[in-house]
Symmetry: C2
Subunit: 201 residues, 2 copies
Amino acid sequence: MSTAVCAVGRPRSFDMDSALEKALEVFWIKGYDGASLSDLTEAMGINKPSLYAAFGNKEQLFLKAIELYENRPCAFFYPALQQPTAYKVAEHLLQGAAESMADQNHPHGCVIVQGALSCSEAAASVKEALITKRREGELDLCARLQRAQQEGDLPDNVDPAVFARYLGTILQGMAIQATNGATQDELLQVAHLTLQNFPKK
Amino acid sequence: MSTAVCAVGRPRSFDMDSALEKALEVFWIKGYDGASLSDLTEAMGINKPSLYAAFGNKEQLFLKAIELYENRPCAFFYPALQQPTAYKVAEHLLQGAAESMADQNHPHGCVIVQGALSCSEAAASVKEALITKRREGELDLCARLQRAQQEGDLPDNVDPAVFARYLGTILQGMAIQATNGATQDELLQVAHLTLQNFPKK
DNA sequence: TTAATTTTATACCAGACGGTATAAAATATT
DNA sequence: AATATTTTATACCGTCTGGTATAAAATTAA
């Protein structure tokens, strides 16, 4: 494990997890291209050799920050998929997104959506990693909707792949809205309007 | 006018409009932060002093490229608002977005959405300009929906501001989807599903 | 106490960044 | 033909980029 302490040698003088949290915040606000190593080391309270020894390089630091992002206690996507009905899954996804993306306790929007969207060639591999994450999320949502259909929980005339893409589109759009300055209430209105149109039997 | 030819002095050896088109394409793919002056001058086929003489600086070049983007013949947003009914407005917006954002003839997505979303401090003013453009678009759509309501064209129980935000969220989400690699057909399915839920009298 | 090990801080690397000074080249006017 | 004007190409500016070599500092093991 990367956070394991070494018995021998000079002990690390910073906490890797909280340093990674700071790095995540910088990437979240500035994106991969826009976040410089100076931005990162300053926010993390360490210097560059410590960063490289602990996290590898900028790209690996970003990927580890994304991992932290997905495993945060307040991450909403995968927990929402565990709701018992398709409607409740959609409800938790949409309300979770509305609450999370305009939360005042951390940067607005979604780092997986915005971290490397239009970017330099130096960020190409990171961009691909984020695209893969977004598509995986949509595939997992699609699988959840397929299960719901088998359970008689979602009308048969609904195409799970299309509906998953539709919901994914709205979730991703909410990230932009949050960057636009939309409030939680405004995003919740979008969530409710979407749920209002949820396919009925 | 900035494209006016000067009678006196050495004539410009490149076409400003087509150079601006090339710049737009670079910004579209790489974003403001990710597009370097070398990227731009190479694509435009000119050198830096020519770029600065003709367009000011990187920021002004970006803003002029965005202006070109909005005034392209294939721009769909404002033409869609001129459709005679609220439904047709939504239809043209959604289908226009689906066709435009996954068009193989130019970069995918939307430069107004992606050009400077999460970005460095150097891009802050450009980011603000794009946020303003996105909000203005939504306000204009809201005004169009209000008119539709007055014309008895949109049910009274619909809040135009919320519905405009909902549509804006989907359009912006489609830009992300296009970057994810979604095809025109896949985006059209999202458009159709959205229209299927269009509020009825 | 010494040796081995790891992290720290500083200082540095080559290259890229946005932007510009300079002077030659190309035109219209006189 | 000479002059004024504008654009061109080259070469350069200081600053920042991601990344690293080096050596001192801090710890455990012997």
